[in-house]
């Protein structure tokens, strides 16, 4: 028995001594935070942060080369965890999602001819710019769909990519993958989008696509907050200024502008509950709310565009939905 203990103990001792010596010779400094950081990162290796995968970002974070908010797909949760490990304050992240700026699917935008080749947009774009007559249009071969690490993009029946907003993490893999650069990351709050990127003249656009932006400018005129600018015959919505009122979509003659807001209502202030703080009036982008300080405020229903910004800021919870505003789809129908 005693021999057994001695033998095993002796072997252990010899090994421990050997390893101890070896560890002096082969010493490597490892930052333990790197491993912890890797643990909190999503592990999708999507590359949205600009580093080659999650472990590369973890290293950069530990070295202070990247911000805690660098992981966009992880959102605030991951940013918080990272900040916790690093012992710093997390900045704020605005949730952004991918928006496809083209509605020229099959039957809407014309093809140049019969494309025979690699079924990939980026490869097809090398064959004379791709098979669509519109040089700014979606090629419809699904490169963005394959590039999305989260399965948030799928081609619809017309061969156009559709983004599932709940799955999109705003990593930007599709933005980089699209050879036509028609996918952008935009703040989730903006739910109205111009779905065209062609800067060609209206006539030229009409010749190749029935639903392209022809640069008529009606949307810009209709916008109550001047969030739409006309740029070389193309309407562009400033997503930070847009209040998603949908008026532009209602007036677009080619039905190009998407309005993703399901139903809008005019704001209605419950006057007895109003404490007259004026917060709602300050956030209203169209100056539709007025009232004396400390007195009940009123909504000018003609001006109100139903953007819904006032309700969440009311400390008294006195703002509720009023009359519904018909959506552009209903207008068209």
């Amino acid at each position: 028995m005693i021999e057994a203990v001695l033998i095993v103990g002796g072997l252990g001792l010899v090994s421990a001594l050997g390893l101890g010596l070896a560890s002096l010779k082969f010493r490597v400094e490892v930052d333990p935070r790197v491993e912890a950081l890797e643990g909190v990162l999503p592990g999708a290796n999507c590359g949205a942060c600009g580093y080659a995968g999650c472990s590369a970002l973890a290293k950069a974070l530990a070295e202070g080369a990247a911000e805690p908010t660098a992981c966009t797909p992880g959102g605030a949760e991951v940013a918080g965890a990272i900040a916790g490990i690093l012992g710093v304050e997390a900045g704020t992240t605005v949730r952004r999602i991918a928006v496809v700026h083209c509605r020229g699917g099959r039957g809407v935008a014309l093809d140049k001819g019969v494309y025979v080749g690699v079924p990939d947009c980026r490869a097809a774009a090398l064959v004379g710019g791709g098979p669509k007559l519109c040089s700014a249009g979606c090629l419809g071969l699904g490169t963005c769909e394959r590039a999305c690490p989260f399965g948030a993009i799928h081609l619809d029946g017309a061969g156009l990519p559709r983004v599932a907003p709940d799955r999109c993490t705003g990593c930007g893999a599709c933005v980089d993958a699209c050879p036509k650069r028609i996918i952008d990351l935009e703040p989730d709050g903006c739910r109205v989008h111009v779905r065209c990127r062609s800067t060609d003249r209206g006539k030229a656009v009409k010749a190749v696509c029935s639903e392209g932006c022809i640069g008529c400018g009606r949307c810009a005129k209709a916008c109550p907050v001047d969030a739409i600018a006309m740029d070389r015959g193309l309407a562009r919505i400033d997503p930070d200024a847009c209040v998603s009122c949908g008026r532009c979509a209602a007036v677009c003659p080619t039905a190009n502008i998407d309005d993703l807001v399901a139903g809008r209502c005019k704001a209605l202030i419950d006057e007895p509950a109003c404490i007259g703080c004026g917060k709602c009036a300050r956030v209203c982008p169209v100056d539709a709310i007025a009232g004396e300080r400390k007195a009940p405020h009123r909504v000018d229903a003609d001006r109100c565009v139903g953007c819904g910004r006032c309700a969440p800021v009311c400390p008294a919870g006195a703002i509720r939905d009023g009359d519904p505003i018909p959506t552009s789809v209903e207008t068209a129908a």
């Binding site: 093809d111 140049k112 001819g113 019969v114 494309y115 025979v116 080749g117 690699v118 090398l126 064959v127 004379g128 098979p131």
Partner: protein
């Protein structure tokens, strides 16, 4: 005015093509196997025809089934499944029971090919995968040889010359009568063996067409046969009483069928000439080693499968020399 033909085809250059296609290659190989198949049917009787038909139909059927299961276009008409089926049949004894053949077809198409994604992606030759699976699973059925001419093919007679030699050496220590083989009979195909391997002349006839049409490279058969000849020849010099002479080694067993039609399978052989030599030499040496020292009398199938496994590495270390690179960077 020239009227515009609409729509025009848009594709990347080049716009001219040599004209060969996958289907053409496959069907040409099938045609090149016709002499060997015909001889097998002539020698082993209607039973051989039944096995052949079953294997071909089985492979074609399983190909269609697996492709449909994956929701891919069914490409039986490209001939690759038919070719696999034919090669499988030629590797089976004429007396194979029907279930053995069908199982072989299923294994070839399933485990050999479609598990890896179908045509062009399988690392191992599907027909050989099937043969070896059957051989290790059903050794009795797989080595119940019929003698040619025994048109009843009931599996009562016949051993392959290699099998006979192995048994003789194992039991008596020397070849004895098993060492007396008639080379002409071997060349013609008048000896026991699987359906397609017996007639050297028929196999060479078919392979000549493929060599001439450049569908198979000559390097692999040359290296394969050469290496077998060399190794078995050297050992035969030392122990002529225990080893069949090298010419008989070439003419018996699946060596010619393997060297000409199985090892040359494009999908599972190296890309470059240097690689093909290494591949062929490896096949030959392993075949000889198994025949001389192994437990199995025949080693062609194992040898080719083993070398199939080496192909990715061979390819990696036999990259062609790139233009403008004096010394190739690390692979």
């Amino acid at each position: 005015m020239s009227l515009e033909p609409r729509p025009l085809t848009l594709s990347s250059s080049p716009h001219a093509f040599a004209g060969d296609s996958t289907a053409r290659i496959m069907w040409t190989v099938v045609a090149a196997l016709a002499p060997a198949t015909a001889w097998g049917i002539y020698a082993f009787g209607p039973r051989a025809a039944w096995v052949t038909a079953l294997a071909v139909a089985g492979c074609a059927g399983f190909e269609a089934v697996f492709q449909r299961m994956r929701g891919r276009p069914v490409t039986v008409s490209d001939g690759s499944a038919v070719l696999t089926g034919l090669l499988l049949a030629l590797n089976l004894p004429a007396a194979s029971p029907w279930w053995l053949v069908v199982l072989g077809a299923a294994v070839a198409m399933g485990l050999g090919k479609h598990v890896f994604g179908g045509l062009g992606q399988n690392p191992f030759n599907p027909a050989l995968v099937a043969r070896v699976v059957l051989l290790v699973s059903f050794p009795v059925q797989m080595t119940t040889w019929s003698a040619p001419g025994s048109f009843l093919a009931d599996g009562i007679s016949g051993a392959t010359p290699l099998g006979a030699a192995k048994t003789a050496v194992a039991t008596a220590g020397v070849l004895g009568p098993a060492g007396h083989v008639d080379l002409w009979a071997l060349a013609l195909g008048a000896h026991g063996g699987s359906i397609g391997e017996v007639s050297a002349i028929a196999l060479i006839l078919g392979a000549a067409v493929l060599l001439w049409r450049r569908i198979i490279p000559w390097d692999i058969p040359a290296a394969f046969i050469g290496a077998t000849l060399l190794v078995t020849g050297a050992v035969w010099e030392l122990h002529p009483d225990r080893v069949l002479d090298p010419l008989a080694q070439i003419l018996t067993g699946g060596l010619l069928l393997g060297a000409l039609f199985m090892a040359t399978d494009m999908v599972t052989s190296p890309l470059t000439r240097k690689g093909r030599w290494i591949f062929g030499l490896g096949c030959g040496v392993i075949t000889a080693a198994i025949r001389l020292w192994g437990g199995y009398p025949e080693g062609v199938s194992f040898a080719i499968l083993l070398m199939n496994a080496c192909v990715p590495l061979i390819d990696r270390f036999t990259r062609p020399r790139k233009f403008g690179w004096v010394k190739e960077a690390a692979p």
